[in-house]
């Protein structure tokens, strides 16, 4: 009997890579206040905006997926910050009141 596990983003990233898909990896690198996902959590995104995993409770995933398209395009990593202090972030809805920093990079 193994633990009840959610799908593992890093395993899925490797299998997507094996299928020849372009993959971006987003990682929570810092959190302040109440944040739904701990530091180290991953969201992986392919060029068709398919994604697995999470960097928040679903609040900012849409914005990260959109940014990942640019990362896949030019290969340059980006640091994104979301929080209540940021008007745009409020719109995408990190409504728990926390702030998070998400690093988005291309695999390969």
């Amino acid at each position: 009997m193994t633990a009840i596990q959610t799908r593992d983003p890093l395993q899925i990233a490797e299998s997507w890579m094996g299928e020849g898909r372009d993959v971006a990896i987003a990682t929570v690198v810092e959190t302040w206040g109440s944040a739904p996902r701990p530091v180290g959590s991953h969201l992986i995104i392919d060029a068709d905006s398919h994604f697995e995993g999470s960097v928040s409770g679903g609040c900012v995933e849409g914005a990260v997926v959109a940014e990942a398209a640019d990362v896949l395009e030019d290969g340059k990593p980006r640091m994104l910050e979301f929080g209540v202090a940021d008007e745009t972030a409020w719109e995408v809805g990190l409504s728990c009141g926390g702030r998070i920093k998400v690093y988005v990079e291309r695999l390969g």
Partner: protein, 235 residues
């Protein structure tokens, strides 16, 4: 991320080895550090601390900013004894996120009917644990009340550095166990790490309540493993 880093990290995780993905946030370069790999200087200290605490985070070393993503193996609970307590403890531990492995050479106890969907080995601990070795991310609960079965497993757990070793039985039973282990030339320091009587003292009576007490004690051991006292606790 370097595809080589991803493959190496996934391979180490599959082998139940602790690893850190180290990313230089300045230039985006990354590498994988396995537990035990030598890392020099200030970064080395941060890496060692991260392995101990299991906490991922950002560190500044030698004028560069690094992100350390710590991947510790999922904790595994190995129960020696396919007993009534194990029947309740197995699904509880699984809900909490543990892999579960039950070993009991007595086939009347270790029957798949009593343990549906459980990783169950109806053999002696020496054999089962030789095939599936214990490691520092394993907890061992010795639950048979039979020293022929429990003792060899406890000794293996001590050798492997399991983060938790608990043994069922009264204080009197445990005193006899200590005598046997001392006679087998185990050190007092090692013997002192065995939790007995097993479980947090919550007045547990039924097998299910005892399972709660054991699981709570295991979580306590896991979360205080090699780190500073938790918030709100005295040193």
């Amino acid at each position: 991320m370097d595809p080589y880093s991803l493959k190496k990290l996934n391979a180490l995780r599959k082998e139940r080895r602790a690893a850190i993905l180290l990313t230089d946030l300045g230039d985006g370069r990354d590498r994988v550090i396995a537990e035990g790999d030598a890392v020099a200087g200030a970064l080395g200290e941060a890496v060692a601390k991260a392995f101990r605490s299991g906490k991922s985070g950002t560190v500044v070393a030698d004028g560069r900013t690094f992100f350390l993503n710590v991947h510790l193996p999922p904790p595994r609970l190995v129960m020696i004894g396919a007993v009534h307590i194990s029947q309740v403890l197995a699904p509880m531990a699984r809900l909490v996120g543990f892999d579960v492995h039950i070993v009991d050479p007595r086939t009347a106890f270790a029957s798949p009917e009593r343990f549906p969907e459980v990783r169950l080995d109806a053999e002696w601990p020496e054999d089962a644990l030789a095939r599936t070795p214990l490691d520092p991310y394993c907890a061992l609960a010795a639950l048979t009340h039979d020293s022929k079965i429990d003792d060899p497993a406890i000794r293996r757990a001590l050798d492997a550095g399991c983060f938790y070793i608990g043994a069922l039985g009264s204080r009197k039973t445990h005193a006899k166990r200590i005598e046997r282990l001392t006679a087998a030339s185990l050190s007092q320091t090692a013997i002192d790490t065995i939790r007995a009587p097993i479980g947090l003292p919550i007045g547990a009576a039924s097998p299910a309540e005892i399972a709660v007490a054991i699981l709570a004690e295991i979580i306590d051991a896991l979360r205080s493993r090699g780190i500073e006292p938790r918030k709100g606790e005295a040193a």
